[in-house]
C-alpha cells in the first residue's frame, strides 16, 4: 500500500518536473511546479514530517509561486522563447550533461545509500520535536533568518523602486 502511494506520487512529481522543463509557456511551467510542490508535500507526509508538509504548501505553493505567477504576468510571457535558438547545439549538450549527473548520483546512491544504516530509532514526535529543536539548538540561525528576510525585503524595495528622475 505504502509502495503504491509512493510510486504514484513519484510518478506525478517526475512528470510535472518534466512538464516544467519542456513546456514553452512559462505560466504552464509555473502550474506544473505547483503540482510538483504539492506532491513533494504529500511525500513529506509519508515520511511523517507533517510540519514541513504544511510549511511546504503555505510557503512554496502559496507565497513563492504566487510571486512567480505575478512576475510572469508582469513580464509578458509567451514571446520570449519563440523564434530559432541561436545556441541550440550548445543547449543540446545539456542532455548528456544531465544524464551524466544522474548516473553519478545513482552510482553514489548504489554505493553508499544501499547499505542499511543503524537500526532506525522511532522518530521523536513530529512538530513538537522540531519546535523544541528550533528554539534551542537552532535558536541563533532561526533569529538570523528574520534578519535575512528583512534584508531581502529592503533590497527588493530598493530594486523595484522607479528611479525618481
Amino acid at each position: 500500500m505504502n509502495a503504491v502511494v509512493f510510486l504514484l506520487l513519484a510518478l506525478v512529481a517526475v512528470a510535472s518536473a518534466l512538464g516544467l522543463v519542456l513546456k514553452r509557456n512559462a505560466i504552464h511551467g509555473a502550474l506544473f511546479l505547483v503540482v510538483n510542490l504539492g506532491t513533494v508535500a504529500a511525500l513529506y507526509l509519508t515520511l511523517r514530517a507533517e510540519f514541513l508538509a504544511a510549511a511546504q504548501v503555505i510557503i512554496y505553493a502559496g507565497a513563492i509561486m504566487v510571486l512567480f505567477v505575478f512576475a510572469i504576468m508582469v513580464l509578458i510571457p509567451g514571446k520570449e522563447e519563440s523564434g530559432p535558438d541561436p545556441r541550440r547545439p550548445y543547449r543540446l549538450l545539456a542532455i548528456p550533461v544531465g544524464a551524466a549527473l544522474l548516473v553519478e548520483l545513482a552510482l553514489i546512491l548504489g554505493w553508499r545509500g544501499g547499505r542499511a544504516a543503524a537500526p532506525v530509532a522511532p522518530a521523536p514526535g513530529g512538530v513538537e520535536a522540531i519546535g523544541r529543536l528550533l528554539f534551542t539548538d537552532y535558536l541563533f540561525p532561526f533569529e538570523l533568518t528574520s534578519v535575512l528576510l528583512l534584508a531581502a525585503m529592503v533590497g527588493v524595495l530598493v530594486l523595484a523602486r522607479r528611479r525618481a528622475t
Binding site: 510549511a55 512554496y60 520570449e80 544531465g98 549527473l101 546512491l109 544501499g114 533568518t145
Partner: protein, 100 residues
Amino acid sequence: MVPDIWYLALGAVLFSIGVLGVIVRRNPLVIFMSIELMLNAVNLSFVAFGHRLGSPDGQALVFFVMAVAAAEVAVGLAIIVAIFRLRHRLSVDDLSVMRW
C-alpha cells in the same frame, strides 16, 4: 514500508531534471523555477535522511532552506523585473550586463 533509498533516488531524478532546466531554458523565470525544483529535491533528501536516522535535525534544516529560498526568490524576481525594465527583452542570452 517504503525504503528510504527510493526517496533519495526520486530526489536525484528531480535534481537532475532541475539541472537540465537551468541549462536548456532561455527564460530566466523558468530557470528560477528549475532552481526551486532542485532545492525541493534536496529538501526531500534531507527529510528522507532525517527519517532514516530518526532525528528531527533534517526537518529543521529544511525549514531554513525554505526561508532562504523565499528570500532568494524575492530578490531574484526583483532583479529580473529591473533588468526587463531596462532592456524590454527577457532572454538569458541578452543578459551580459554584469559581465565585463
